[in-house]
């Protein structure tokens, strides 16, 4: 079994290195094909591992090599495949296989085709390290690795100013959070003496609550950055500057869920500190509502889906914070399928519309893009959580968990957000695929994507539909690692009322969205009453948070940097260095005259040198002769 573990881990690395060989050459389709095949190999190996685990096989734990061993510190390159990590591996490899294949078509006309695959495969490798590592240090490597690859992929079209800006924003935001994460890891090591999950969790039980709280908070700060939770959320929407397959893989399905994975992985820690868990859950619920509200009015297709991702991440954190780790993981998995599908569909639409992102400028695309239409509609149904698609099972479980745990505020917020989710999802679908063909005003001739891209997307579609059916099997599997918490509402009546009520609420939202937007006629120009209202402006400008960051953090920081640059760097650091160089240069300039080639001058210098050496001889001779006295004087002075 170890063999499969290594294949699953290193196939993406091989793929990345292979593609990296061709980064400077022009587009070669076989690079994409071979990369896809290698990622598929990783997927196949993961499947074998999953089968092994499903057959009640023991978790596979390997230690590839020692990484650090100094004193008490011992960190190996260790990998573990247990029920949790194999789930993540399946999600990562499956989605990335599909995205790789899809990208062959999507990036078809891009001249940096090969570079794209190098980055994408490197991302998969980092993600695999992140999920498979058996210690916090290894997790951190993967954590930084995915951050780096995310930077490279968001800024993939680096000739675009906005793309590089977004890439840097994502990277810097994540670094801020990573500092918290790093402090958390240090605290773990400081207090337990190990970074291995097993050892650390064992040691946590003996620590006092205050320490555990700090550890939990700092680790969660890292998770907040990676999963773009408030207040570090701004980067995710801007990250949509990257190619759409990247958004599908990194900013919907895998990397942003790393934070959730961290919380799930550290479940034994968060079980000991329920107050931090409650904070996580509250923040998650808040972000769910907060992000969904921004998605309501946005006019950028990809940003709407990004906010939706943010909102769903909030759901996951709400579940994880409440102790329903398996529910969080299940929602993570289901979400990965339908959100990746949604993004890939959006990619098709973008291609068809020549990179136009405003859904108000589309409309009526269902005639031209039948396949994409069906896929995106079904993905939206799944996202909205309508029976019997995947979203229903996972989201319903979160709502139940909140209800059963008696956190009614969180429950009602999440319920309300479910309605908003349904609304904005179908607002998008209605605007893109139904109604008048507004794109004709802009002289665009849409076309359906390549057939193989649609075929590649189909596994996601199937999973988005049937993933709910796997809930039972999945539950059986993960409870051996995660806390066994069944959420059953005791009264059947309450259960049915709740479920049917939620469904009706959601379907009502869908219908309302259709009614409002399916027959949209014109492209809004910002003059209507709604667009003039305060709420609309607030939501459209993302609560003015990016503006506030720019105004109150970035600008003062820039001013401070300016001061440090001109005052400290230029006048102290540079001046010191320049001074040394100047002294040396000046000395050289002055003493250059020695080398005039004039023999007379040389003779004078020779004599001067002789005098200097003779003086030294005298001084040292005297010193050696009187060494005892010198020592006596020095010791009397207290020097020696």
């Amino acid at each position: 079994m170890e063999k499969f573990l290594y294949i699953a881990l290193f196939a993406p690395l091989v793929s990345s290195l292979f593609a990296a060989l061709f980064t400077t050459t022009k587009k070669k389709t076989f690079v994409g094909i071979i990369a896809s095949l290698l990622i598929f190999t990783a997927f196949a190996s993961s499947s074998v591992l999953l089968a092994h685990i499903l057959n009640n096989g023991a978790p596979i734990h390997v230690e590839m090599m020692t990484w650090m061993a100094t004193g008490d510190l011992y960190i190996p390159f260790g990998f573990v495949v247990d029920q949790v990590s194999v789930t993540m591996m399946m999600v990562v490899t499956l989605v990335s296989t599909i995205v790789h294949i899809y990208s062959i078509g999507y990036m078809d006309h891009d001249k940096s085709f090969n570079r794209f695959f190098a980055w994408l495969s490197a991302f998969v490798f980092s993600m695999m390290i992140l999920v498979m590592s058996d210690n916090y240090a290894g997790l951190f490597i993967g954590w930084e690795g995915v951050g780096l690859c995310s930077w490279g992929l968001i800024g993939f079209w680096f000739h675009k100013e906005s793309a590089t800006w977004a890439a840097n924003e994502a990277f810097i935001m994540n670094r801020i959070a990573d500092l918290g994460m790093l402090i958390g890891i240090f605290l773990v090591y400081w207090n337990t003496g190990t970074l291995q999950y097993d050892g650390a969790f064992e040691a946590f039980k003996t620590l006092d609550t205050a320490t555990l709280t700090w550890i939990g908070i700092f680790l969660f700060i890292g998770a907040m950055g990676k999963s773009a939770q408030f207040p570090l959320h701004t980067w995710l929407a801007d990250a949509m500057e990257g190619p759409t397959p990247v958004s599908a893989l990194i900013h919907a399905a895998t990397m942003v869920t790393a934070g959730v994975y961290l919380v799930i992985r550290s479940n034994e820690l968060y079980d000991l500190i329920p107050h931090v868990g409650l904070f996580i859950a509250s923040l998650g619920a808040f972000v769910a509502l907060f992000a969904a509200s921004m998605a309501l009015v946005n006019r950028d297709m990809k940003r709407i889906i990004a906010y939706s991702t943010l909102s769903q991440l909030g759901y996951m954190f709400a579940a994880a914070g409440l102790g329903a780790y398996w529910v969080a993981l299940f929602h993570l998995m289901a979400h990965a399928f339908f959100k990746a599908l949604l993004f890939l569909g959006a990619g098709n639409v973008m291609h068809a519309m020549h990179d136009e992102l405003d859904p108000f400028k589309m409309g009526g695309l269902k005639k031209v893009m039948k396949g994409t239409f069906i896929m995106m509609t079904l993905a939206s149904v799944a996202l909205a959580g309508i029976f019997p698609l995947a979203g229903f099972f996972s989201k319903d479980a979160i709502l139940e968990a909140a209800f059963v745990e008696h956190h009614y505020i969180i429950y009602s917020v999440l319920l309300f957000t479910a309605g908003l989710t349904a609304f904005y999802s179908f607002r998008l679908v209605a605007l893109i695929f139904h109604g008048e063909e507004r794109y004709k005003l802009f002289g665009i001739h849409p076309h359906e994507a390549y057939k193989f891209m649609l075929v590649a997307m189909s596994p996601l579609l199937i999973l988005a539909i049937i993933a709910g059916a796997m809930k039972g099997t999945y539950y059986e599997m993960v409870i051996s690692v995660l806390p066994e918490t069944e959420y059953h509402i005791h009264s059947h009546l309450v259960y049915w009322v709740m479920t049917i009520g939620t469904q009706l609420f959601v379907i009502g939202a869908v219908v309302y969205a259709y009614k409002k937007y399916a027959d949209w006629k014109s492209v809004p120009d910002g003059s209507s009453d709604v667009e003039q209202s305060f709420m609309y402006k607030l939501l459209y400008n993302q609560y003015y948070i990016p503006y506030a960051y720019e105004e109150y953090i970035v600008k003062p920081y820039r001013e401070i940097s300016e001061i440090f640059w001109t005052k400290v760097d230029m006048k102290v650091v540079d001046a010191t260095v320049d001074g040394i160089a100047g002294i040396i240069y000046g000395t050289g300039e002055k003493t250059r005259d020695m080398q005039s080639g004039n023999l007379s001058t040389m003779l004078k210098w020779m004599v001067a040198g002789t005098v200097a050496l003779l003086s030294l001889a005298v001084v040292f001779g005297l010193a050696a002769r009187n060494s005892d006295e010198i020592v006596a004087i020095l010791s009397a002075l207290g020097v020696m």
């Binding site: 080398q595 005039s596 080639g597 004039n598 023999l599 007379s600 003779l603 004599v607």
Partner: protein, 101 residues
Amino acid sequence: MEIGLNHYLVLSTILFAIGLVGVMKRKNLLLLFFATEILLNSVNIAFAAISHYYGDLTGQMFAFFVIAIAASEVAVGLGLLIVWFKRHGNIDLDSMTSMRG
């Protein structure tokens, strides 16, 4: 008044200093050679005196070899000097700047 080794050494040093002045001051190569002869001679005095006061002939031997070296130096040096004079028409030190870096 007994004349000791130090007297000779001081004399030798004074002559050496005069020689050094000559070496640094003279711009004419021939006169520079004269100054080097002074240097060699001052050292010879020191050797002879040390030899005398130590009762060891080694000092005299060294003085002897110094004289031999001085003679060869004059022979070769004058030859070179003549060649230089034939090429450039002068034996001025300041004109010899071909060793400039």
